[in-house]
Assembly symmetry: C2
C-alpha cells in the first residue's frame, strides 16, 4: 500500500514537472519558475491521489485522469501562495522553504498564484484523449465550484474574519472565538470543498452519475477533510517543526480559531478517530465498483500522520 | 448602431448583476460585495460585446452566448483588481471610484480577484442550454489559455519588468526603455490575448472551426487590441481625467514604457488610424456569415473614443 502511494505520488510529480516545460524559454519565464518553485516543493499530493482512485472506480486509467488530478494540485498550490502573502497570513516558510513572495517578491507571487489557478483550467479543458466532453465539463465544473466563493475562497473569507486584530495588517476585524459550527463551516469550505471535488470529480470524469455513489463520495470527503484539518491543528500544537517543514505554534500566535483551541487536545484526537471510522465506513459503497482497500489504508495512515 | 451597443451593454450588465445573487446572504457575503463592486462599476463591456458578435456569426443568440461573454468581463475585472494592488501598480482610483483594496482592504481585494477568475470558469462550465459540450470546452479552453501565463498574465510579468525601480515596491528590476517589439509583445499578451479570445472564442462556441475565419478573427483582434492600447496610452497623456474616471499622467509618473513615450503623440495617432483600417479590412471575411456592419462601426468609434 505504501508502495502504491509512492508510485501514485511519483506519477503525479512527473506529470506536474512537465506542465510548464513550454514556458521555460519565454520572456516571461520568471513566472513559470515561480509556479514550479511552489508546485514542485513536495507535498503529499493527496488531492490528486484521491482523484485518481475515484476516477478508477469508473474505469479510467491514471493517465486519462492525470490532467484533472494535476489541476487539483495546482489549485491547492495557488491557494497556499496567496494565503501566505503579507496581506493574508504573512508566512515566511512553507514546506521547509521560503514562501513564494519571500523568494520572488509579492508581485510575482501574486501572478504565480493567478497563473496556477488559470493553468489548472487550461490543463483540464485542453486535455486530449478519449474522455467524453460531457464528462470533462462535469468534472471541471465540480472543481471550479469547489475552488470558488461558494467553496474554498468562501472559506478563506470566513477564516480571515476569525483572526485577531493583531494578525490582520488592515486591522479591520476584531477577534472572536468561533463556535464549533463556525469552525466546521469554515473548514467544510476552506479544506473540505476541494476534497469533495477530488472524490466526486473523479467519479464525474469517469461518467458515474448515480446519486448513491456521488453522495457517498461527498460524505467520505467531508469526514476525511475535517479529520485532516483537525490533525493539522493538532500537529500545529504537538508536531515537530522540522518534520512538518513549517513553524509550529502559528495558530495560537495568530489567534486563529482551531479545533484544539475549541475542544482541547484530547477531544480533538478522539474526533479524528471518530471521523476516520466514518470515512472508512463510507468506502464500502464503492466495493461494487472496485477495490477500496488502498483508500482504506490511506485514510487510516493519514489519521496517524506526523507531517 | 449606438443604440445596438447600448442594448448589448445593458444585456451584459443585467446578466452580470444576476451572477452573484445567490451569494448575497451567505456568511462570506463580503467577498460577493467586493466582486460586485468592481464588476458593476461600469466599463465599456467591449470583450463581451465582441464575443456576442462573433458567436452571432455562427448563429448563437445573445442569450446562448451570454455566460461566456460575462466570463470574459469577469476575467478582465479580476485582472484590474490584482493589477491595482499595492504590490503591483498601486492605484487608488479606477473607473472614478476607489480601487477594491482601498474599499475592502488588500486581503479582500486579493480574494475578490481570485473569486472573479474562478467564477468565470464556474459560469462557463456550468452553463446550461443547447450548446454542445465540445463547443463549450473549445471556447472555455480558448479563454483560459488567453488569460494564463502564455497570455494575459505573461503580459503582466513583462510589463512589471518595464517599470522604474521607484515604481516597484520590491525594487527588484531596474528601469529599461522597451523597444517597439517588446512593447508590442507585452500588449499582444496583456491586452491582445483576451481580445483574441473574445473573437475566436465566440466563433468556437458557435461551432465554427474553419481556419479562414479563426485566423481572420485573430488578425482583427490583434489590430483592434493594439490600436486600443495605443489609444489608452494617448488618453493617459491628452485625456481628461474626469471623462476617463482615473488619474492621467500615470504612465509617465511610473516610468512605464508606452507607445507615446516610444513614438511621440503624432506617430501614435497615425498608428491608431492604420490599425483601425486594418481591423476594418479583416471584417470583410465575415460577410459570408452575417452582417459585420455593427462591428465596423464599433471599431471606428473606438478609435475616436475619449474615455
Amino acid at each position: 500500500m505504501r508502495k502504491k502511494l509512492a508510485l501514485r505520488q511519483s506519477q503525479v510529480n512527473a506529470a506536474l514537472e512537465n506542465i510548464f516545460a513550454k514556458g521555460r524559454d519565454l520572456p516571461q519565464k520568471e513566472v513559470f519558475a515561480a509556479m514550479e518553485y511552489s508546485l514542485l516543493a513536495g507535498g503529499k499530493r493527496l488531492r490528486p491521489v484521491l482523484f485518481l482512485e475515484f476516477a478508477g472506480f469508473g474505469g479510467l486509467s491514471a493517465e486519462e485522469a492525470m490532467p484533472f488530478a494535476c489541476a487539483l494540485e495546482m489549485i491547492h498550490t495557488y491557494s497556499l501562495i496567496h494565503d501566505d502573502l503579507p496581506c493574508m497570513d504573512d508566512d515566511d516558510f512553507r514546506r521547509g522553504r521560503p514562501t513564494s513572495h519571500k523568494m520572488f517578491g509579492e508581485a510575482m507571487a501574486l501572478l504565480a498564484g493567478d497563473g496556477l489557478l488559470t493553468g489548472a483550467f487550461e490543463l483540464m479543458l485542453g486535455a486530449e484523449g478519449g474522455v467524453p466532453a460531457e464528462n470533462r465539463l462535469a468534472a471541471a465544473y465540480e472543481i471550479a465550484s469547489a475552488a470558488g466563493c461558494f467553496g474554498m475562497i468562501g472559506g478563506q473569507v470566513l477564516d480571515l474574519a476569525n483572526q485577531t486584530e493583531k494578525a490582520r495588517p488592515d486591522g479591520a476585524e476584531p477577534f472572536r472565538v468561533a463556535a464549533k459550527q463556525d469552525l466546521t463551516q469554515i473548514n467544510r469550505l476552506k479544506t473540505g470543498a476541494l476534497f469533495r471535488a477530488s472524490c466526486r470529480g473523479g467519479l464525474l470524469l469517469a461518467g458515474i452519475r448515480k446519486e448513491k455513489y456521488l453522495a457517498a463520495a461527498e460524505r467520505f470527503a467531508d469526514a476525511l477533510g475535517i479529520s485532516f484539518q483537525i490533525q493539522d491543528d493538532i500537529l500545529d500544537v504537538i508536531g515537530d517543526s522540522e518534520t512538518l517543514g513549517k513553524q509550529t505554534g502559528n495558530d495560537e500566535k495568530q489567534g486563529k480559531a482551531t479545533y484544539v483551541a475549541l475542544w482541547g487536545l484530547e477531544k480533538a484526537q478522539s474526533e479524528v478517530r471518530r471521523l476516520t471510522a466514518q470515512a472508512l465506513d463510507e468506502l464500502s459503497v464503492f466495493a461494487g465498483l472496485g477495490d477500496p482497500a488502498f483508500l482504506s489504508w490511506l485514510v487510516s495512515s493519514l489519521s496517524e500522520r506526523t507531517f
